[in-house]
Structures are given as C-alpha cells and as structure tokens.
C-alpha cells in the first residue's frame, strides 16, 4: 500500500524542506509524490524508501541514496540526479539533466531518454559495489570523466548511425567501463582511453543491466543484445604516475 503525498497542496508547490521532513519520517514505506514540481533533494541520503514521482523532481534527486531505496520518475528529472549515490535505484521515464550520477558509488540509474553534460563523472566501484548508469538515448559532453569504476552504457536509441555521446568522453578515465551502442564512435577520444569492440565476456557484464532497462521501459532486449558495442576502458589505473619529479 503506497502513501500518497500531494506536493502541490492548495495549488502551491510544497517547499523541499517540508517534503524532505515528510519523506524522512516514511523510511521503510512506499510513497507516491503527486504533482511534483521541481522540489530538490528528494530522498537525499535515504535508505529503504520507495518513491514514485508523478511530475518533475528538482535537482539532486536521490543524492547519496542508500540501500533499499528506489525512485521512479514518470517524467523528466533535472540536474545532479543520483549525485554521490551509494545504492538503490533511480528509474527515469524521460530525460535527465547535467551531472547525473556524479561520484556515484553503487546502485543503478536507468534513463529512458537522454542525459545532459557531465554524466557519470568520477563514478567508482569497490569490491562488490559497482554503480551502473544506463542511458537509453544520448549523453552530452564529458561523459564518464575521471571514471574510476562502474559501468556506463549509452544506447543511442533513436539516433542510430551517430555517436551517442558528445566530446571529451572518458577524459582522465582510470577505472570502469563505458559501453557505447552502435558503430559510430565520437570523433576524438582522449589519450587516457582505449577503445575496442565489446566481446561476449564484456557484454556479460552489461546484459543484466540491459534486462532491467528493458523491463523498466519495454525496450527490445533481443535487439539490444544483438547490437554492436564499443567498449572504452582506461589505458592505466595510474594515469599520472610519470607526471611528477620527486625530490
């Protein structure tokens, strides 16, 4: 049984602090937010909370999100979605703004549409915790900059034949993997990145996430599975070792 919160009582959008207070009191529950209109920090740092959002949440949706939490957005999301999130999942039935998944350490972000600039910057993994950011459409510049771990996939659905990412993809990458669906690669890739066709063993890491993507958004799994993917990985996990003179 879900608890409904009308986020626009009396015709006025509820302030984020008031909404945050209500959500913090509802840990362990399922919540539906109705008429969401730009409230920031929804479910920030919360554990074991399930939120369905009708409308458009504001910046920093699910920042620092903890174990057992899931957020579903029936609409677009704004900037800094899942900033530094630890666990749980964020599913967006639309597009998301800039800096999605920045510093993400675990959990999963599924975006049906596009992601803005700077998605997945400085994602990192540790032990069994491997963050995943799956973008159905395209991503802007600086995707996966400084990536230290985790999996980023950009599927380019609807823009076939074109590289699904912008410039500076993977600059400073020193861990993790970026999958780009299709035959086209961005015109230039930074020197820290090596690129090759993803093989069966590589795709084995991606397929569980694609399954979830298809379950969430009804995409064609067999088509996604049969598609070619580029795999971007770092040249080195210690890219700057030779930069310094020690004395």
């Amino acid at each position: 049984m879900s608890i409904c919160i009308e986020t626009k009582p009396n015709g006025q959008p509820m302030h984020f602090s008031q909404l945050g207070e209500q959500l913090r009191a509802l840990a362990g529950q399922s919540v539906i937010l109705q008429n969401c209109l730009g409230q920031r920090y929804i479910a920030a740092g919360q554990k074991n909370l399930r939120v369905e959002i009708e409308g458009i949440p504001g910046n920093a949706l699910g920042a620092y999100l903890g174990e057992g939490s899931s957020i579903t957005v029936h609409g677009n999301a704004q900037d800094a979605t899942g900033d530094t999130m630890s666990a749980g999942s964020i599913t967006i039935h639309g597009s998301t703004g800039d800096a999605a998944g920045y510093g993400m350490r675990g959990g999963m972000i599924l975006v049906k549409g596009n992601a803005g600039y700077r998605a997945g910057i400085h994602m990192k993994e540790y032990g069994k915790t491997c963050p995943k950011l799956i973008i159905g459409g395209c991503a802007g510049d600086f995707l996966g900059e400084y990536q230290a771990g985790g999996i980023i996939a950009v599927l380019g659905l609807g823009t076939e034949g074109k590289a699904p990412v912008g410039r500076f993809c993977g600059t400073g990458q020193h861990g993790g993997r970026i999958f780009l669906r299709g035959d086209a690669l961005p015109a230039e890739l930074p020197p820290q990145v090596s690129v090759r066709n993803a093989e069966q063993a590589d795709l084995a890491l991606l397929l569980p996430s694609l399954t979830q993507f298809c379950e969430a958004f009804g995409a064609d799994f067999s088509m996604l599975q049969a598609s070619p993917y580029w795999l971007l990985t770092p040249n080195s996990s210690n890219p700057y070792t030779d930069l310094y003179a020690i004395y």
Binding site: F16, S17, G20, E21, R24, R40, Y41, A44, G45, Q46, K47, N59, A60, A63, Y64, G66, D79, A80, D83, T84, S86, A99, Y102, G103, R105, R118, I121, H122, K124, E125, Y126, T129, F142, E145, Y146, A148, G149, G172, H174, G175, S237, N238, P239, Y240, T241, D242, L243, Y244, A245, I246, Y247
Partner: protein, 500 residues
C-alpha cells in the same frame, strides 16, 4: 644525459661515539645508513637522507648529526642553489616538481609583525589561575531571531552548532596522506580535549566511528568513502572547495599508497590512483554550492552544520561573501602557508595569499555586508603557536584549524618528504612497520599536552587584556598593533600601527 645533483644534506657520524649498533640503519626507511661488515663500521649515504632526524633522535650514543652541505654552486643571489637544483631535476625528468608540507619560502609573515595588547592600571588584568576564563566556542549561524511561544517561553530555533571547549580544531588530513595511527592519535586527542578533528577526503575508517561527535567528515571533489552513514557520523560535514597549499587544483593519492585499508576506507579499487578533480563537477556557481550544502543538510535531516572550506586567494572576500549566502554554517579559509601531503611545488609556493590578510579582509567584508553573524569563520594555514592563534581570533576568526603543528606534536620533523611515503616517524606513510612506530596513545597524549598548553596561554593573554571570555576577543582588533608595516598592510588588516 642526467646531470649529477649533489646531495643537500650530509650525515656526520662521530666515529668515537658510534658503537655500530646499527639502530640508524634499522630506523631509516630511506636506507641512508649501511653497515660494512669488513670494517665493522657504519656508512652513510647522503643522497638518500631527507633530514628527518629519526636516526639522530634514536642514536643511543648521540653520535649523529645531519648538516646542510657546504658544497655550493658559485654564489648567486638570483640563482639560488635550490633554484638550480630544481631546474636540473626537471631537465633530467621532465616532471612537475612535487613537494609536501607548507610553503617554506621567506615571504612576509604578518602574525610576526602584529603585537598584542595588555591592560595596565585601568581595566585591570585577570589572573586565569584564580578567575574563571571562558574559552567555550560554538560554531554555526548566530543571526537567528529570538522567538517566544505563547507563554513567553523561548522557542529553541537555533540551527545546529559545533560545540568546542576552545576555538581550535585539527584540520583535514586524509587517511592515506597520513597513517591509521596518526588518525587514531588525532581522534583520541580531539575527544579528550572536547574539540574536533577532520577526516579529510579519505573517508572514515570503521574503527573511528566511535569518535564521531568529535569528528568532522569531509566531502571533496573525489567523493571518496562517502555514504549515508559517513555523512551522519560526524559533528559536522565539510565541503572542501580548496586547500591553501594547492588552491585551484585537486588531489592525487598515488595508487601505491591507495592500498589495503586506505583503499577500503576510500571505497576505491586497491592500487588505483585516487584522483580528486580540481573542481567539483557539480559546482560551477554559488547556486550550485548552495545545492550541495542543502543536499547535505537534507541528508542529515538538518542536524549537522555544514562547513565550506576554501583556499585564501585574491578575491577571497567576495568568494566568502558568496559562501556565506550559500546556506553554509561555517566557512573555513586555508592560507597559503598551509600544509599538504603532496602538491606541485610551484603551486604550493606561489599560489594564494597569507591567511592573516585573507582573514581580516573576509571578516571586514562580511561585517560591511551585515552577514558576519550568518556564518562562523575558521582559519588555518600555519597557525604555529598560541600567539598566532590569539592574533587570528582578534583579527576576526571564530576558531582556528591546526595541522602542521599537530603533526609536529606527533613527532614530525618537517623534512617535507611526505609525498615519498616513507615517513620514518610513522605519520605520512602506509608501510606497516613504519606506522607502528607511532603509538596512538602516546601521540594522543602529546596532542593533548600541546593543546592544553595553548589553551592556558590563550587564557593568560586574555587575562592580561582584561578579557574573561574568548567571545570578547573575537574580532577585537583594538587588541592588535602592527610593527614595520605599510599603511596599506595596516588598512587591509584593519589595525593601527604600534604607538598610535
């Protein structure tokens, strides 16, 4: 071709005193001492010596000393020995010069040119041994209007504060840049003293969560080791935007130091570089900073004050004004003499401004704009003694951060070789045999000694001024006079020249 660079230090061994016990050889992780079995005598390898005094201190017969070499290039006031050596090294390697600890250059120190006042005849001095002296300090927003309920009872609407027994904290040093035992020493000492230490950006080791109420947890651009429990573990959360030793650049813990427990605490793969980008890629404006501040406040259910740490740079007053409007509760400013575990030499030595000037201009600006009480001001960047601390408070600081001083208390000899990772004192190293040389119980005790001594000195000086509460010292620039300063320097500091 590599040019030979003569060693900077020479190991001088008094052969009459040396008993060839080989303690120096065992103690030196840089392998600057050896034993010649044929002659039964010790040998020194000057080129490996970093002048950390471990051997000198532990030599049972005091047979050792380290001297700066007399070997020199042709004396030249423009091209110093050091300048030439650095240039040769760069021509040999093509590398960016890397250094540690604070700026060693002989730039003006304004604390040394500020003198303190004392009472005579009227407004008599107070004896802290007989009279109560208040050093308790609360950091956080103070400009909250008093509100009373229906029955006239005060409504408690104070935003979260850090409560300290005195206006002093240990500033951010990450686990990784310093050792487990160094962190343990700081955590224990902070707890005993009723002050705070700061995790830096390396996360919080699980064994230290129990010191949480005396811990400040940091969020830096690399977002290492950050999760909900971490954010809730401390007395406050600090967003690191900049550091005095390296304003404008990020951090870089080499993979060889990011191993074992360090990597586990940072939650990064073992052996991979731990890179903190120069900017937070989710912050490009004060509005973005405000967003990070409030995302942390929301995460903590508004139970933790948020500190924003910036480096002292040219426009620090305007930046601080922006930070004060970002919703942060405390602003920490780190001066250009602040220490580091590793920073490019040119940045450490040439970027930023002295904390004395930054502090005075920030305090003045925030007062002029009527927002000084919206935020507490903490400063660091080479607070070397109680005198510097007291002068900083009188210039307008609510509290000071110390780090280099704290490391000295733990045995650091300022050899400035932290970046090599072979600290013979067990502080700036992750090598298990070296780390265990620092006993956290003794380390904590020495830190407690240092800070208690400073607290007593603070009380003595306050008593001399006829002040019995540190609140009355804060921003009390009438207690300061400058010597040997220009009008412009006095204007920026907001103080009179001595004699006037």
């Amino acid at each position: 071709m590599e040019l030979y660079v003569h060693p900077e230090f020479e190991i001088v061994r008094n052969e009459k005193k040396c008993i060839a016990c080989r303690v120096c050889e065992r103690q030196c992780a840089n392998c600057a001492h050896g034993y010649d079995a044929d002659s039964g005598s010790m040998e020194g390898y000057d080129e490996k010596c970093v002048n950390c005094h471990r051997c000198v201190t532990l030599c049972p017969t005091k047979a050792l000393k380290i001297v700066q070499t007399a070997h020199t290039f042709r004396p030249n006031a423009n091209w110093s020995n050091n300048t030439i050596r650095e240039l040769y090294l760069q021509a040999n390697t093509g590398g960016v010069l890397l250094s540690s600890m604070g700026n060693p250059r002989p730039l003006p120190n304004y604390f040394d040119r500020i003198l303190l006042n004392a009472s005579q005849v009227t407004n008599p001095p107070i004896d802290p041994l007989r009279e109560p002296m208040e050093t308790r300090t609360y950091l956080g927003k103070k400009s909250i209007p008093l509100q009373r309920g229906a029955a006239g009872k005060l409504i408690e609407n104070l935003t979260p504060q850090i409560a300290l027994t005195m206006p002093l904290m240990f500033s951010a040093m990450s686990y990784g840049s310093i050792s487990y035992n160094a962190h343990a020493s700081l955590a224990r000492a902070a707890t005993e003293l009723g002050i705070c230490y700061n995790t830096g950006e390396g996360g919080l080791h699980r064994a230290f969560y129990r010191y949480g109420s005396n811990t400040i947890v940091q969020v830096a651009s690399g977002r290492f080791g950050i999760h909900t429990d971490y954010l809730m573990a401390g007395a406050a959360v600090e967003i690191k935007m900049g550091q005095g030793a390296k304003p404008g650049i990020g951090g870089h813990l080499p993979g060889k130091k990011n191993v074992g427990e360090v990597a586990r605490t940072r939650m990064t793969p073992d052996g991979s570089d731990a890179i903190s980008p120069a900017p937070h890629h989710d912050i490009y404006s004060i509005e973005d900073l405000r967003q990070l501040v409030y995302s942390l406040k929301e995460t903590a259910g508004n139970s933790k004050p948020i500190i924003v740490k910036i480096a002292a740079v040219h426009n620090v007053a305007a930046i601080a004004s922006g930070v004060a409007r970002s919703g942060a509760d405390i602003i920490a400013i780190d001066g250009f003499r602040g220490g580091t575990g590793a920073a490019p030499t040119r940045i450490r030595d040439h970027v930023g401004i002295p904390i004395e000037l930054a502090l005075a201009s920030v305090d003045t600006r925030l007062r002029e704009e009527g927002i000084r009480d919206d935020i507490s001001l903490v400063v660091g960047g080479s607070i070397r003694s109680a005198a510097d601390w007291i002068k900083a408070i009188a210039l307008g600081a609510d509290a000071c951060y110390i780090a280099t001083g704290a490391l000295l208390a733990l045995g650091c000899h300022l050899c400035r070789s932290c970046h090599i990772g072979l600290c013979n004192w067990g502080i700036a190293t992750q090598r298990a045999d070296l780390v265990k040389r620092l006993n956290p119980e003794i380390g904590a005790e020495r830190l407690v000694n240092l800070v208690k001594a400073w607290q007593h000195e603070l009380k003595e000086v306050m008593g001399g001024m006829g002040i019995n509460s540190v609140e009355a010292l804060r921003g009390n620039r009438l207690m300061l006079r400058g010597v040997g300063m220009t009008q412009e320097e006095l204007r920026v500091l907001g103080i009179e020249h001595a004699g006037s």
